[in-house]
């Protein structure tokens, strides 16, 4: 996967750092209270917790769709609470997000959806054609490159969404319940995709409440409950269940 290998972006320290972060919506209660957390480079975490615990909210802080109501947040070593809007856009180009509901653009083909981050970054069309085709092959969707999202199955949309998230070779991948809408077989394939990306050097955080799935991988869990995060050890019975990880 030469496509996904990229020279180091030249930041030191943690990929994400949260320091006493609080988040509330308008005048509601604090969804997150006093969260301090460090996501090291090249790490892999599950993000677990009951529905409504704030998993999506925590991820949206990390992909800079929200600012913390209090506390500090660093991304790739930069203090984003003080960064200008234009700078946030630049930082976002170094991360890949898979939304729970995919958020594919319905008026574009699968190919154009995946190509979007590259085109927005001003990448030349020859490179776009080559990289996107290669990536669509990799996720097994080469036949569907011209299909519009509405005509794709849940699993296919999921893979388009993941391809779009990784096409820019992100250093941080944030996936919100990426296996929520697919059956177990596809869920495992998608997970193996993330593991592959992790091995290629990205930090990965996957929000999920699919415990059996979490139990098959030897990765630590960030557990959200009552607004606080605790780091739990891998749920897996065998500390290194390589058979589940390898494709």
């Amino acid at each position: 996967m030469a496509l996904l290998r990229k020279k180091d972006e030249g930041f030191t320290g943690d990929t994400v750092g949260l320091e006493g972060v609080g988040l509330r919506y308008d005048t509601g209660p604090e969804i997150l209270t006093d969260v301090s957390l460090a996501i090291p480079q090249r790490s892999f975490h599950f993000l677990t917790g009951p529905s409504g615990a704030g998993k999506t909210s925590l991820l949206s802080l990390m992909y800079l769709a929200k600012r913390p109501t209090r506390g500090g947040l660093t991304l790739f070593g930069e203090d984003v609470t003080r960064a200008a809007r234009g700078r946030l856009a630049t930082l976002r180009r170094r991360l890949g997000v898979v939304f729970q509901d995919f958020r594919l653009l319905d008026h574009m083909s699968a190919f154009d959806n995946v190509a979007l981050p590259l085109r927005i970054a001003g990448v030349g069309e020859t490179v776009v054609q080559r990289n996107v085709s290669e990536l669509l092959n990799w996720v097994g969707l080469e036949e569907f490159k011209n299909a519009h999202p509405a005509t794709l199955s849940g699993g296919q949309k999921q893979r388009v969404a993941i391809a779009r998230a990784v096409v820019n070779r992100p250093k941080l991948i944030l996936a919100d319940e990426p296996t929520g809408n697919v059956d177990d077989t596809i869920a495992m394939r998608l997970m193996q995709l993330f593991v592959e990306l992790h091995k290629l050097g990205a930090s990965v955080i996957i929000a999920t409440h699919n415990e059996p799935l979490v139990a098959r991988f030897p990765f630590p869990r960030l557990h959200l409950d009552k607004g606080a995060v605790s780091i739990l050890p891998p749920l897996t019975a065998q500390p290194s269940d390589q058979t589940a990880v390898e494709m």
């Binding site: 769709a65 600012r67 809007r85 856009a89 976002r92 927005i120």
Partner: protein, 294 residues
């Protein structure tokens, strides 16, 4: 559209289609204002040119003696022809006076029997007020009953009316510009709300505000130009109809003046102006809306 890649789903863009229609109507109105303004300019020029440096001497009917107007007219002509400021002076033939009255009185034979005032057309070498006053004074000395009209009062009133029309035309242009700007602002805001999910995705995949604003601006430019072109297309037959109706009016009342090239150029520029205005407005609206986020 036009082979330009757009990240916005233009097909289900209801607000955008509304802008297109409204720009069409606005450009139609603006075109009308441009034509009115140009035509008034032409008329004023025409009237001004034909009237400055000229006088009309009128010998009223009731002051004519038994021999009619001839002696008085002769006396006045005599004075005028010797005056250094006068280039030309000649009595208006009765037939021409009748012709002048025809548009108002119709083709009736009655005119021929009417006692008509005698008229003398005078052309001066200059339109300086002193010369006009000097010539008027010598006419008055020769024939105190003669009425000298330097057309200024008439011209000033007509010009006042024409300027009134011009002000109205300018007001229409200002209102149209404002209406176009406001329409684009509100339509852009509606689109922003409609495409909020698309915009969030664009942001998350690394788009800067300027990029997103550019998408909206490009769309607004197209809408402005297309709507403007449609407005002109609608205006063309309307203008042709009015021109034809005007051509049927007697040229003594409404001079058959040709509209200047500037008029046609201004009309041709309207769609581009509409597009440009829409583009800038959309860009600013989006930048403002986005900078209030996150």
């Amino acid at each position: 559209m036009f082979g330009i890649r757009s990240d916005l789903p233009l097909k289900r863009d209801t607000a955008g289609r509304f802008v297109l229609w409204l720009v069409m109507v606005l450009v139609f109105m603006a075109s009308l204002a441009v034509t009115v303004n140009s035509y008034i300019g032409v008329l004023l020029n025409d009237w001004n040119r034909s009237v400055t440096g000229t006088l009309t001497v009128q010998v009223p009917v009731m002051d004519l003696g038994e021999k009619g107007a001839a002696p008085t007219v002769g006396k006045i002509l005599d004075v005028l022809k010797r005056h250094p400021a006068v280039a030309k002076a000649e009595a208006v033939p009765r037939a021409k006076v009748i012709a002048l009255l025809k548009p108002w009185l119709g083709e009736s034979d009655v005119i021929a029997d009417l006692p008509l005032p005698a008229l003398i057309d005078v052309e001066l070498r200059t339109d300086e007020p002193e010369a006009v006053a000097a010539v008027t004074a010598s006419i008055k000395t020769a024939a105190p009953q003669a009425v000298v009209d330097d057309h200024r009062v008439w011209l000033n009133r007509v010009m006042g009316l024409a300027q009134g029309f011009s002000v109205v035309a300018m007001t229409i242009m200002i209102l149209v510009t404002g209406a176009l700007g406001l329409t684009v602002v509100f339509a852009t805001r509606a689109s922003l709300a409609e495409f909020v999910q698309v915009i969030e995705v664009l942001h998350v995949v690394g788009a800067k505000d300027g990029y997103i604003a550019g998408q909206f601006a490009r769309r607004a430019l197209l809408q402005g130009m297309l709507g403007g072109a449609a407005g002109l297309a609608l205006y063309a037959p309307a203008l042709a109809l009015v021109a034809w109706l005007a051509s049927r009016v007697d040229p003594e009342i409404l001079p058959n003046a040709a509209l200047p090239a500037a008029h046609w150029l201004t009309l041709a520029a309207l769609p581009f102006a509409a597009g440009l205005l829409a583009m800038l407005t959309a860009h600013i609206t989006v930048r403002r809306a986005l900078s209030a986020k996150v």
